[in-house]
Amino acid sequence: MTTDGWPLWEVFVRSRRGLSHTHAGSLHAPDAEMALRNARDLYTRRMEGVSIWVVPSTAITASSPDEKDPFFEPSADKPYRHPTFYEIPDGVKHL
């Protein structure tokens, strides 16, 4: 018997209160409960986290790997969304 039938889980760890969960890595486990336990042993042996999410890898929908994909184009040509786009006279404060 192999672990082939064991799904892959993506593990997200919140390192401390006030921060969001961050992707830590992945692991195999037969079910969600075991995935959580394995994640605790694998990714938080040194108090690296106060909260863990496990998500079946197959449940993740990802954008195309190509960063130059037209998918991201709408944001590429809009420099006016950044504060540095605007010219403000010297001496104007708190802006």
Binding site: M1, E10, G25, H28, D31, A32, R46, A59, T61
Partner: protein, 352 residues
């Protein structure tokens, strides 16, 4: 398969679009950007990484054995707790690395299979026995020390998941080396018999530790290509020299000597000179004739077989409760259907 052959084949059959993909890949490597799992990469890059990461993962889990051998006989509860934590870390390192390998399209089961059938190797250092308690100290100081020297530059490896696994591993390794050094120091400063035991362990582990960096540069088959692809950042000989330079003064502070009459500081080079390495021994151990090759592999196979019923039971339990966890949809509506093409797959690092 050598990387050379694969490359030639790839070049000959290359279409225009493949050339464009390769150009994007080369540019990313040249710009010191990371290659991520779903990027296009040359077949030989992928194969070379799988080979290296698998061997690294196997070394982590086989490496648990020589030290675990002393857990029940650790000289104090403190040392026992430390050793258990260290051996558990090595299991973790193996898992990080198997995950990294899986992002390249292989599976952990496949890799374990290759380890168990002897088709993939692990570091030959773990084919030496741990004869006394002092060996645990010597392993922590020298073997983990050599591993750190090897692994620190791998944190900047061009393949993202491997580099990230190495960052995690390196953070944990420094405790491994320090606990070993401390254990050896306690022995070295102890009774005459304890001091002799520490010296004996260092005498036995020093040369195999130097071999951990692999064959000399002019005999290393995979090195040049791995350096060009920025999988490796430094040559075997460079890293070996770096390790010797670090370890020699550490031995002095321990009050122990290193078993090399040629070891001495070379003012001109700014490095320690050291004597010739017995490469025949290295190749012989690698071929399977070391003192513990047989024992390590059969113990690993047995552990895997003995664990089969646990894996089966866990899978059966999960199957029984599938309806409960499996298909409830708690996802928010706006998280779905944003992109026509759905990319779901089972090799990890999905969106990375």
């Amino acid at each position: 398969m050598t990387t050379g052959t694969a490359e030639t084949t790839a070049t000959e059959g290359m279409t225009a679009s493949q050339a464009a993909l390769e150009a994007v890949f080369d540019a990313a490597v040249a710009a010191d950007e990371r290659i991520e799992p779903r990027d296009w990469m040359p077949d030989a890059y992928r194969a070379g990484l799988v080979r290296q990461i698998a061997q690294h993962a196997h070394s982590e889990i086989i490496g648990m054995q020589p030290e675990a051998n002393w857990i029940t006989r650790a000289p104090s509860l403190r040392r026992k707790a430390i050793l258990m934590a260290k051996v558990q870390d090595e299991a973790g390192h193996g898992l990080y690395l198997y995950s990294a390998a899986e992002t390249l399209g292989t599976s952990r089961d496949e890799l374990l299979d290759k380890l168990h059938s002897g088709r993939q190797k692990y570091s030959s250092i773990f084919n030496y026995p741990t004869l006394t308690w002092a060996d645990v100290g010597a392993i922590g100081w020298l073997v983990d020390g050599a591993a750190i020297t090897n692994q620190v530059p791998l944190c900047r490896c061009s393949y993202g998941p491997y580099a990230r696994a190495m960052v995690r591993v390196c953070k944990e390794e420094s405790f491994h080396q320090r606990q070993g050094y401390e254990a050896l120091l306690a022995l070295s400063r102890g009774t005459e018999a304890q001091h002799a035991m520490a010296q004996d362990a260092v005498d036995r582990w020093w040369w195999p530790s130097l071999m951990m960096f692999g064959p000399p540069d002019d005999e290393s088959t995979h090195s040049a290509q791995a350096m060009a692809w920025k999988i490796k950042r430094h040559s075997n000989d460079e890293l070996r020299q770096r390790f010797v330079d670090i370890a020699a003064p550490q031995a002095e502070s321990l009050g122990l000597t290193l078993p090399d009459p040629d070891l001495k500081w070379n003012e001109e080079r700014g490095h320690y000179d050291f004597g010739p390495i017995d490469w025949d021994e290295f190749w012989n151990v690698l071929k399977g004739n070391g003192p513990c090759n047989e024992q390590r592999l059969s113990k690993r196979r047995k552990a895997h077989e003995d664990g089969a019923w646990v894996r089966e039971a866990a899978a059966a339990y999960a199957g029984k409760h599938d309806g409960r966890h499996g298909n409830d949809n708690h996802g928010r509506d706006d998280a779905h259907g944003r992109h026509d093409e759905q990319h779901t797959h089972t090799h990890g690092e999905a969106g990375a």
